[in-house]
């Protein structure tokens, strides 16, 4: 399912946060939203999920206006992985993943629902943890549980808010490998906000680079994430490192 947004604007307490943001998310592609803290990455994702009211602009899911869809219809098309956080009450991993079936199930989860959850758990290597309480998990495991829930939701689009924020190097790579695999093998359209420029450069098909109040660039990572762009947007001088066929950035210091 192709998601196109254009002219999105949003302000909070009269202070503009996003102005005229546009993007296009096609099936089978991984779009990374990058930009400094407070630039509106999470706000953008919330707008795209219909969790915040649009001030201006349109969001279309194929040929349908996203803001006119019911919450249930939207939940069947787009899954969302928020930044971690455990619920107040004890809940097992399996129960947490089963919530992803809510848009599909009636009152009682059927055999298919249970099966999809078990499959999603195994896919992320969480099958030994199915009966574990969420509060007992590490940050990396919790992130994977939330992704498993989104998989169980069986949507065409998947939005993730900083899925690598609290993860170590290995888990970061695992999660992003997983996301790329989902786009390649199942044709999902994935949108993730990331802080790590190097991960964005390596895994993204498209990058939307946000600067305060405007879009700095949208396109393939090698054209959007450049030394110049990083200096403009983050105010940091970086040097470009190359090796093993990969390109990375090393921050040198705040730019003058």
């Amino acid at each position: 399912m192709r998601l196109t947004a254009s002219g999105l604007s949003f302000s909070r307490d009269g202070r503009p946060i996003l102005r005229d943001v546009g993007l296009c998310l096609a099936p089978g592609r991984l779009l990374v939203v990058a930009g400094p803290n407070g630039v509106g990455k999470t706000t953008l994702i919330r707008l795209l999920l219909g969790l915040l009211p649009l001030e201006a602009g349109t969001i279309r899911l194929e040929d349908r206006d996203l803001t006119r869809l019911s919450r249930r219809e939207l939940a069947k098309a787009v899954a969302y992985v928020p930044q971690g956080g455990t619920p107040t009450f004890p809940m097992t991993v399996f129960e947490a993943v089963l919530l992803g079936r809510r848009p599909h199930l009636s009152w009682r989860p059927g055999a298919i629902d249970l099966e999809r959850c078990a499959m999603a758990l195994c896919r992320l290597g969480l099958d030994d943890l199915a009966g574990r309480d969420l509060a007992a998990l590490s940050g990396g495991q919790l992130q994977k549980v939330l992704i498993a829930r989104a998989l169980a939701q069986e949507t065409a689009c998947l939005f993730l808010d900083e899925p690598t924020a609290s993860l170590d190097l290995r888990h970061q790579l695992e999660v992003l490998e997983m996301l790329r695999e989902l786009t390649r093998q199942e044709g999902k359209a994935v949108l993730a906000s990331l802080h790590d420029i190097n991960l964005a450069r390596r895994f993204a098909d498209d990058v939307l680079l946000l600067a305060p109040g405007r879009v700095h660039g949208f396109g393939p990572p090698e054209t959007v994430l450049t030394v110049d762009a990083l200096r403009h947007v983050y105010g940091v001088d970086v040097c470009c490192l190359q090796g093993d066929g990969m390109t990375g950035f090393y921050p040198v210091g705040p730019s003058q």
């Binding site: 939940a75 928020p82 009450f89 004890p90 078990a118 290597g125 490998e177």
Partner: protein, 359 residues
């Protein structure tokens, strides 16, 4: 750690995956079965409690006598069971069921383990209404007391609902506002008690202890009309409560209209609470602990948790009433006092057991 990323024919991979996920499913089926058993156990416990409560009394009956009495054989025993023990029991069942359910819903939609039907101040509102009726019109029709109690409970609920309309009001804001309202109404009730003449004072205080003895069939009908209509709706929405417990954003992304669900739940819970307390007085505590006990028994999913919480409410109130009638017989202790006496130690025991299991 990413099994699917290994290359290989798709069919073989699916098979290999199936080998891993079957045990997971088996475990879940087992857990679900255990939950259903626990729920059935609670039902049996509640029924046994009902029977015991009918049998127990100054003039004891055996179960056979009770059933004959219920069928109505024209004896004094039959008249006594039908006119005294049965209404008392019916009121207890309604109040316990209502408070248990309302507490469970309150904890889910307010995302707070300390929440109960009393957190939003609904019961204090009811208590104030009752006290006001007793001091203003001591000699008026007996219906004025529950009438005003219901009115003020619903007034408080309307205030809480108004709070949900405020943009950016988090659930903590709701709870804080509710607690503030609760203190306001308690202060006003205390004021009335302070000013009240001796006779009215004892009536007001006695009302606030909570008692099942005031119930006649008319009152029970009114309470049933307030409590029962919301029950099917709450049970139907059970899966949504699972979601909203995890946060509004998550719930919304799972297809739930969180604002509408929270508003409707608060309204339902308020009406239920008003129905439960207007004739029985403030039977605290059940709405707080029944959901927690139920969670320990059947787990956190609301499809089982809601009915279990309601049943536990019934069990607790019946046992507390029994204990209140038995301990200092022939003196009858108010059920409101007994629920705390019996419930707290048991609750602590459960908490300690859970802590031990965790560590």
């Amino acid at each position: 750690m990413l099994p699917p990323s290994q290359p290989g024919p798709v069919g073989a991979r699916a098979l290999a995956l199936a080998e891993t996920w079957r045990p997971v499913l088996r475990e879940q089926h087992l857990l679900a079965k255990r939950g259903r058993f626990a729920l059935a156990g609670l039902l049996v416990l509640a029924l046994a409690g009902l029977l015991l409560s009918l049998c127990w009394g100054p003039s004891g009956f055996d179960p056979k006598g009770v059933f004959q009495g219920l069928a109505g054989n024209g004896t004094t025993a039959s008249a006594m069971i039908r006119a005294m023990r049965l209404p008392r029991l019916a009121m207890g069942v309604l109040a316990g069921l209502g408070l248990g359910l309302a507490g469970c819903v309150a904890q889910a939609v307010l995302k707070n383990p300390l929440a109960s039907p009393f957190t939003l101040g609904i019961s204090s509102g009811g208590g104030f209404g009752a006290a006001l009726a007793m001091i203003l019109w001591p000699a008026a029709h007996p219906a004025t007391v529950p009438g005003l109690a219901i009115f003020f409970s619903l007034l408080t609920a309307a205030f809480a609902l108004g709070m949900t309309r405020l943009r950016g009001a988090a659930t903590e804001t709701l709870v804080l506002a509710g607690v503030a309202v609760m203190f306001l109404f308690s202060a006003m009730t205390s004021f009335i008690q302070y000013m009240a003449p001796q006779m009215d004072l004892s009536r007001i205080v006695f009302w606030s202890f909570g008692s099942l003895a005031k119930a006649g069939w008319g009152e029970i009908a009114v309470a049933a009309c307030l409590i029962l209509p919301a029950v099917p709706w709450l049970l139907l929405r059970a899966p949504d409560f699972d979601c909203i417990m995890c946060g509004d954003e998550t719930a919304a992304s799972l297809g739930i209209n969180t604002v509408r669900l929270r508003r409707a739940s608060i309204a339902a819970m308020s009406v239920i609470t008003a129905g439960a307390i207007c004739f029985c007085g403030v039977i605290g505590f059940i709405g707080l602990i029944a959901p927690h006990m139920a969670r320990l028994a059947v787990g956190g999913r609301h499809r089982l948790l809601l009915p279990a919480s309601g049943l536990l409410g019934v069990v607790l109130i019946i046992l507390a009433d029994l204990a209140g009638r038995a301990i200092f017989a022939p003196l009858v202790l108010p059920v409101g006092i007994m629920t705390a006496f019996c419930g707290v130690p048991f609750f602590f025991w459960l908490l300690v057991r859970r802590c031990r299991r965790r560590s």
